[in-house]
């Protein structure tokens, strides 16, 4: 039965600790990917260290499932905190990083963090930085017709909003009488590869572009997971029940640069994790030792995962022609 109301999970103490756990899960997974890149266990790396404080709450608040009754996710390649928070396994990300045949997202065909998970409505992540803004209104149209509380969530960076597809997404979501339930998320890290955003775009608050379309919007501190949780929950509540679009900009850090192409070295930007850990300790929700144990546990998981991934088969000639065309029944 299709739900008609949505209530976000409670942000209780257990959830606050779970957020931390998932932020560490995401960070350690990506740092392992960077290690793989440096040690020849993978090629190109691109990901989201520094965006965990926004990505993890987003993943936890997704109405997860398959079909228009649930949320569709049109993600960009800095979305691993969201997908890991939804329940994906770190080992699968390492499989994609290495390009193994066991990579469940692309069988070794796509870059790391290019997910495709149909049971969770995660449509294929593409290396383009903007096309997802033009596609999201399509799933949202199906959700508008279906009814319920399912929405289409589209994420991107600040650089991608310079493309016309961002305009298309806003325009197609606000046709009079045909408004669509799209949650636009801009993770603003102030960079487009090597170019400072402030030198090529006239706005720090890109969300305000929604004003011209009558789209409600807000800009938040994306390095604070508690702020992010409440902002996302509020935005989702609006989109789910008003069935109209919303733009949520989260100002985040880019801790390891653009990708392996820029070296993937640690940059001197605010790190959301130690900031959050200080808060957890200050609020007596955890201790330094307990938090360290979280890191140790995920490091062990990742270490074991890498050992496993290295044993797994790689694609060969027999796999090249697989899945060029779908040969099953028509329809989805």
């Amino acid at each position: 039965m299709t739900a008609t109301r949505w209530t976000p999970p409670t942000l209780d103490e257990a959830t606050k600790l779970r957020i931390h756990d998932l932020m560490v899960k995401a960070r350690t997974t990506e740092e392992m990917q960077i290690r793989m890149m440096r040690t020849g266990h993978g090629y190109f790396w691109i990901g989201a260290p520094g965006e965990e404080a926004f990505g993890v709450p987003l993943g936890l608040l997704v109405h997860k499932g398959h079909g228009p009754a649930y949320d569709y996710l049109h993600l960009h390649y800095r979305s691993s905190p969201t997908v890991l928070a939804m329940g994906s396994e770190p080992i699968d990300a390492l499989r994609q990083m290495r390009g193994t045949l066991t990579d469940p997202y692309s069988k070794g065909r796509n870059f790391v963090n290019h997910f495709a998970i149909k049971p969770w409505n995660i449509v294929p992540v593409t290396p383009t930085i903007e096309t997802q803004y033009a596609v999201a209104p399509g799933t949202a149209l199906m959700q508008r017709r279906h009814g319920g509380v399912g929405i289409s969530i589209v994420t991107g960076g600040d650089a991608g909003t310079a493309e016309g597809d961002f305009y298309s997404g806003m325009n197609w979501s606000t046709r009079p009488g045909q408004e669509l339930p799209v949650l636009f998320c801009i993770a603003h890290n102030t960079w487009g590869i090597s170019t400072p955003s402030a030198t090529v775009q006239n706005f720090r608050e890109l969300n305000k572009r929604g004003d011209g379309f009558g789209i409600k919007n807000v800009c938040i501190d994306g390095n604070d997971p508690i702020v992010a949780w409440h902002a996302i929950a509020e935005a989702m509540d609006y989109v789910r029940h008003e069935r109209k679009p919303f733009i949520l900009q989260a100002n985040v850090s880019r801790l390891y640069g653009h990708s392996s192409s820029s070296g993937a070295h640690m940059h001197d930007e605010e790190d959301c994790l130690p900031r959050y850990e200080a808060r957890l300790i200050q609020e007596n929700l955890s201790t330094a030792a307990e938090l360290k144990a979280v890191w140790d546990r995920w490091h062990d998981v990742l270490h074991d995962a890498l050992q496993q991934v290295e044993k797994e088969p790689m694609p060969d000639q027999s796999h090249v022609l697989q899945h060029v065309y779908y040969r099953g029944q028509a329809g989805n």
Partner: protein, 351 residues
């Protein structure tokens, strides 16, 4: 007989009623116009969109992801060029996701010259389209094939590009579509919207039936023995007229209508070339990196020792556009006299 625009409309109606089409959309596709060529008049799922081709393809991909069956129209293929990467995403979603997703959608667009369309209503797109992997690419040359190819496109679970020759939209078919009324005036009154106020108008659809032209299956348009001519779309109709004239003059010409460009019917082409030893490919697209070169390469690979003359391509000149004045189009797009001359030259060549 239905013309090609009516045939497409009937096919889309059948698709709505029987094949799960959820959305037919594009610029001016919905009421009141129903498409600049009238292909979408009166269809119950037709709607108008912003003038935004990238948004159109994105919407189609999203609808397909969301469980729908979209048919999106790019009003003229001349305006599809800014959509290349979105078309690529439609075509690679199944492969890149290792079979997790597939994309059941149709994009239809009018192509080619022949309507005095000047620089931005005369483009061809097949050479680029067949270079975008994961798509099936079709182009009919008559109304009945347009109907049958469109039904196959709608029923297919992969992306299909349906290219309709602009110059043939008003060309009447030579065979009835199954279920089409024999009286074309009756068909006109039943499904063509009136000129002027259309607010009270509704179509009365004839009981058209399931008729499909399978992908990858060419049509033997003319049987002959001296030269094989491979073509499609509007150029095909020129080729058949020329072949009829030449046959009367004693030169036997075989004409193959590809209908599906990708994947094209290699076996039909090879069999014909093995019989005639001579191949001419005719189309309107510009000649450099032309789709016809692909056909010729395949023929050289498979029929080299059967050839009696070098395969030949007659295509559009390699110029930036088709000019408005007739002199430009006449001298940059293949015409019947040039096709006849090329066939005669091929037939005269001896090894």
């Amino acid at each position: 007989m239905a013309n090609m625009a009516q045939a497409i409309r009937l096919a889309l109606h059948y698709g709505e009623e029987h094949l799960g089409v959820t959305d037919i959309f594009g610029e001016d596709v919905g009421a009141p116009l129903g498409g600049v060529f009238t292909c979408t008049q009166g269809l119950k799922t037709a709607w108008n969109t912003p003038l935004d081709e990238r948004g159109l393809i994105g919407m189609a991909l999203g609808i397909a992801y969301g469980g729908g069956k979209p048919v999106a129209e790019i009003q003229f293929c001349d305006y599809i060029f800014n959509c290349i990467d979105l078309l690529k995403l439609c075509g690679n979603a199944h492969w890149s996701s290792a079979g997790e997703y597939h994309v059941p959608l149709v994009v239809m667009t009018p192509v080619g010259a022949g309507i005095h369309g000047s620089m931005y209503h005369s483009h061809s797109f097949e050479s680029m389209a067949t270079h975008i992997q994961g798509w099936t690419v079709v182009m009919p040359s008559n109304a009945k094939d347009a109907y049958g190819l469109m039904l196959s496109a709608i029923a297919d679970p992969n992306p299909v590009l349906f290219m309709a020759p602009k110059g043939l939209m008003r060309a009447k078919g030579e065979e009835l579509i199954p279920g089409e009324p024999a009286d074309e005036r009756a068909l006109h009154h039943a499904i063509d919207a009136p000129v002027g106020d259309r607010t009270g108008w509704a179509p009365h659809w004839p009981p058209v039936e399931d008729y499909r032209v399978p992908f990858g299956k060419a049509r033997l348009a003319r049987q002959g023995s001296a030269v094989t001519v491979v073509s499609y779309g509007r150029a095909l109709t020129m080729c058949t007229h020329v072949a009829d004239d030449l046959t009367k003059q004693g030169l036997s010409v075989e004409v193959i209508d590809l209908r599906t460009l990708y994947p094209f019917d290699e076996q039909a082409v090879f069999a014909s070339v093995k019989k005639t030893g001579r191949l001419l490919v005719v189309n309107e697209d510009t000649e450099v990196t032309n789709f016809g070169e692909h056909v010729m390469r395949k023929v050289v690979d498979h029929c080299f020792y059967d050839l009696l003359a070098p395969p030949r391509l007659l295509a559009g000149l390699d110029v930036p556009g088709v000019g408005l004045a007739w002199g430009y189009e006449k001298h940059s797009i293949p015409q019947p006299d040039g096709i006849a001359a090329a066939i005669r030259e091929l037939a005269a060549q001896q090894p």
